[in-house]
Symmetry: C2
Subunit: 307 residues, 2 copies
């Protein structure tokens, strides 16, 4: 089993009520591959500019991320800057500089073409398909998207959805994509477009998983300290896909554990700015928080005579 | 074990995107006692006017609700009217006519004074204490409140909290009462005011329970049809307290089941307008949905070699 990820590698500037950071490591593929790397190797497809610090490359390599598909192009690295208010569920983008990302045309190294699991980060749906088409026989393809693509490239996104096993969206994106306010109905409408499963991410409230008649509701871990929600969704996807690739199973029990592990990794990611918490995270902490999620959410059967 | 409830019995007029109802049965004590009645008898303390339809009295009696404490006063019954947009988490009050409720001074019949469990619905905190003081040795007292009392009678509410074992609040009320945005910190601040436990209700996202170091996160049941959220919180409290009074236990396992049953009753209440769904509900449906909540939220342990 080999996991491939495509997406952005970026330099982020972030303001929250708890502090600010300038030009720190960010990007969907960065959060994803760092989180997935706890479960096994990850193959990265992304582009950076000449100004991308070597220390970040070294960090990704130290996490066991295969960088054969990370290309360095003349120009500046993709930059995003955003602000969060006290309601950390909602990012306010202050500035986006695509730079080298504007001409990104993902080319897979020959060694990536036997990948079994693919994560298509939030990029142009044309490019998402271009990645899938370069893999010989993918076993499980998951994709992320956002309101920008739902609005501006719906037809292409719908084409991509036909090639995708699972779509990650948040509540608002699910509603927008389906044209339906009720999240259960919206998820069912998305399933009718092609994906076999959909995960609706709900920020601090957790996530819902829908596949056929299967529904799973995962709570988020109630955190007393939450500093920077940047990358939470990609960290969720990284924990989810990293586990699935390692577990060699796609049954419902594996999917449920994958969702919980997605929540575990996301809960760590937001505890500090950028990848600060993920840099020092270890497997024992992941195991321990997984066990805490079980204690947090499980309950016993009802007594037989209670009503 | 005997369960006592004080609160409003009202005639509600409700507009939602799915329809409207005029002057239908409503009120916190009505939803509460109907939901609690599936688990055992409930003693009601409330006031109605001369215009309150006999059929509603008959309905409550048919549910096994003890009406010795339901007084009829000259004048009109309390009326509330509200509107919900597509975001059904937020009620917009259009009109409130207190009528006989304005002079409500709860007096407990002698037969109520040995009650073991008390639910103090969302009324003036002065009156909430007045009820507790009339019960000889209550075993478990739970209270609801709202932004109006947090703003206008904080000192009295804080006095009430010293007499209360458990407080029900929603996210916004928890933040307002604690003066703290983070819901985990807000809950801890509320516990420091006196209650041994706090339930933070989060509408369609579920509920969080905090008591000492114990935390329980309950998901809400993802409903494809949600018609009228009026009474959801009181239905939650009714399922919760009805179960606790019947289970004769206050341990963590009982609390968790009580929270899930609160969610079960609330999920039925919102499926139709007013008490339409609760009127035809039966114990088998409650059991069945409780089992569905378990299937919806439980997951297996992590494999030992996964990371």
């Amino acid at each position: 089993m080999a996991l491939l990820a495509v997406g952005s590698v970026a330099l982020d500037s972030v303001e929250t009520p708890f502090g600010t950071r300038r030009e720190v490591l960010g990007g969907s593929a960065t959060y994803f591959s760092t989180c997935a790397s706890f479960f096994g190797p990850v193959r990265l497809v992304a582009v950076v500019g000449e100004d991308f610090p070597d220390e970040h490359v070294s960090f990704l390599r130290s996490r066991g991320v295969d960088l054969a598909g990370l290309v360095r192009r003349p120009g500046r690295t993709f930059r995003w800057s955003g602000r969060y208010e006290f309601d950390l569920n909602q990012a306010h983008t202050l500035d986006t500089q695509l730079n080298v990302f504007a001409d990104f045309r993902p080319e897979l190294p020959e060694t990536y073409r036997d990948s079994s699991h693919i994560f298509l980060g939030n990029i142009d749906p044309d490019l998402q398909r271009r990645v899938v088409e370069q893999v010989r026989s993918p076993r499980f393809v998951a994709a992320d998207t956002m309101n920008f693509w739902i609005e501006s490239k719906r037809a292409s996104l719908v084409e991509t959805l036909k090639r995708v096993d699972l779509l990650f969206v948040n509540d608002a994106e699910a509603r927008q994509l389906a044209g339906e306010h009720n999240v259960v109905k919206a998820a069912r409408a998305i399933l009718s477009l092609g994906p076999k499963a959909v995960v609706v991410k709900r920020g601090e409230y957790g996530a819902l998983f829908f596949s056929g008649t299967e529904v799973f509701a995962a709570s988020a871990y109630p955190l007393p300290e939450l500093f920077d929600p940047t990358g939470a969704g990609d960290s969720f996807a990284g924990g989810f896909m990293g586990y699935l690739a390692r577990a060699r199973s796609l049954d419902h029990a594996a999917m449920r554990r994958a969702i919980v592990l997605g929540g575990v990794l996301a809960s760590f990611a937001v505890e500090k700015f950028s990848l600060e918490r993920l840099r020092v995270l270890n497997g024992d902490e992941i195991r321990s928080r997984f066990a805490e999620f079980r204690r947090l959410t499980h309950f016993e059967d009802l007594e037989s005579d209670i009503l």
